[in-house]
């Protein structure tokens, strides 16, 4: 089966500094891939290049067979991106925000179907008709995940999905990610939460100083570093 996401020798240069260096990895359809690494390692830059927000300096990125630099519009039809600490338009209600976003995918995708799915995933009850500015962090995150999932993207790219959430909200959102992957959506997440990555991801890639230093299943990585968990793997890899 063709990989849903393929990065080959990807470089990103800011002025005279390389933020990402010869990055290569791939993700199979319906799998969850976790991108880990210290702050400033180049994770967000990588996600933004995949999402067509940043230009690739060299190398290629293909999403569902489409080159992000040459076929940006087609790539954007297949992906959904959830930035870290993202918000929504504060003057809109949760429902109007979902409607606003769903209209960009309509009529190619069924508007009513998207809305029904979005409302179900958000699961905000009556509060869906409250202004977004009144939402708690957990409610906001659920709304944004609903927005990201409702158009049924082929690839969902999520940056720090549970950052700052309480245990209950974080658990619910992780379950949601598992469900969408089971439904066939390819998921690429970036996270500092090693427990989350270990429990959620089929494969993990670690970036340090813009380079991919590790890649494999959590079990393989733990075995490679003789570590009890992914956190130990991370620390040993960074120190090495």
């Amino acid at each position: 089966m063709e990989d849903a996401l393929v990065l080959k020798d990807v470089c990103k240069v800011y002025g005279d500094r390389e933020a990402v260096r010869n990055l290569s990895f791939s993700v199979q359809p319906g799998k969850i891939f976790g991108l880990i690494g210290p702050n400033g390692a180049g994770k967000t830059t990588t996600l933004r290049m995949i999402c067509t927000i940043l230009r690739v300096t060299s190398g290629t990125i293909e999403v569902c067979g489409h080159n992000v630099m040459k076929e940006g519009a087609l790539v954007r039809k297949d992906i959904s991106y959830l930035p870290e600490d993202a918000g929504a338009y504060k003057e809109l209600t949760g429902r109007t925000y979902l409607k606003f976003m769903a209209r960009f995918f309509s009529p190619e995708k069924d508007f009513d179907g998207m809305m029904a799915r979005g409302l179900h995933i958000a699961n905000l009850g009556d509060r869906i008709d409250s202004k977004v500015s009144t939402y708690s962090k957990g409610m906001m995150r659920r709304l944004l995940i609903a927005r990201a999932i409702m158009p049924e993207p082929k690839v969902a790219i999520m940056d720090e999905i549970t950052s700052g959430l309480d245990v209950m909200n974080a658990y619910e959102i992780r379950e949601l990610v598992r469900q969408i992957a089971q439904a066939g959506v390819t998921v690429l997440i970036s996270s500092h939460n090693m427990f989350e990555v270990e429990s959620l991801c089929d494969r993990v890639g670690m970036i340090n100083h813009g380079e991919l230093v590790l890649c494999g299943t959590p079990a393989e990585l733990k075995e490679q570093f003789a570590a009890r968990n992914l956190e130990e793997v991370f620390i040993k890899a960074v120190k090495a």
């Binding site: 002025g15 991106y81 930035p83 918000g87 929504a88 960009f104």
Partner: protein, 455 residues
Amino acid sequence: MSALTNIVSKELRELLTPGTILSVVVVVVMLGILGTALSGEVESTATPSDIGIVYDDTGMYSEQMQDDLAYGYAAVYGTTTDAATDHMIYLTVAETDSDAILQAITDRGLAYVIVIPSALSANIAVEQTTSASVYYIYENSGLFDDVSSSAANSVVYYAANQLSQQLTGEITGEAAAAFLAAPLAASGGTYTQINGTLYSDIAPSTISTSMMSQTLMVPLIVMIVIIMVGSVVISSMGSEKENKTLETLLTVPIRRTTIVTGKLLAAAICGLIYGIAYMIGMLLYMRGLTTATTLDGTADLAAFGLTMTGTDWILLMVLLFLAIFAALGICMILGAFTKNYKMAQTMIMPVSILAIIPMFVFMFMSWDGLGTVGQALMFLIPFTHPMMAMNNLIFGNYTLIAAGAAYLVVFDVIMIWLTVRIYNSDILITGIDQTKTARTLKRLFGKKKHHDDEQ
């Protein structure tokens, strides 16, 4: 360091950014330039200018009157009487031939023409006051353009005084005192040509005052609308970046041009609604003002053909819309460099400055009074065009209106093109900090700092 000093120091570091300091410096420099330009305008209206005299008297007081007029000119303009003679051009036209007088004003570039009836000597002999008239051509309004109106009356007044002193002793009798009080008066009528038509009993100063009360409002409204709409757009960009809604928007399957055009159009429509609302307010204000001030001795401009037609109002709105679009284009570009809502608040400063400068200039000066360099600079500022449009439309200067509209269209297209280019580049997300030039400058002059993007 005390807690208070610590807080003050931190607040000052946040408030006094290079951007805010630069904007303050620019305002100070611009006000200085404006002051210099204004002093030039005041000086130009007060400096001796050529005036015309129609006086064809062969009587015994003819030469004396000419000396008295030179004295009057010297007293008003602060020159010697010899210099005054050089500035006073005696015209050989009939005193009732208004066409020839107005032609002479145009041909010789005269500020005005004083007509002293040829019957002056004869009138003195019978102790009868002679009435002088003054002719003007009203071309444009500026705060200082009405100086010449009062100057003409003053020349006649000083000349009459001088004549009166010279006649004292010569003329005696019961009626002498009354006659000597005013052997000559500027009571023969004030004639002003406005837009090609000659009107009597109206001085340029009266027209100028009435014009100013109306045209002053347009620059003010344009400035308010541009700053308001610009502020909304930049703040919206700052807010979108802070909440990362822009990042989300950039990943939905639509063209970047659609995002740019959508944002611009919405803000421009919003700006036009503000503009129209303020214009309606201004019309109501003008109606009230006209009723109130006509009683006060100022002119009903409609009586002199100085009104805006329906087409003129449409043209003004078109220019306003194009200028708002230009402002929004600049704001979208500036907004691309903001990182958050707070930074966006200071980024509006360049647009505010560009709106305030022409507003001040056209409050005090006319287009014609700017000089070539001033005109070129003002023309380049896109917000100038709706600000001076009312004056130009009233006086039929459609060439300047058309040139302004064409410039604004070109300016707007360039702004949209630039905005789309920026929306397609990394700068929108990473800011200018990550460009090669910025990084080189930072390495040379600044501290090393990680960008928050590099996670």
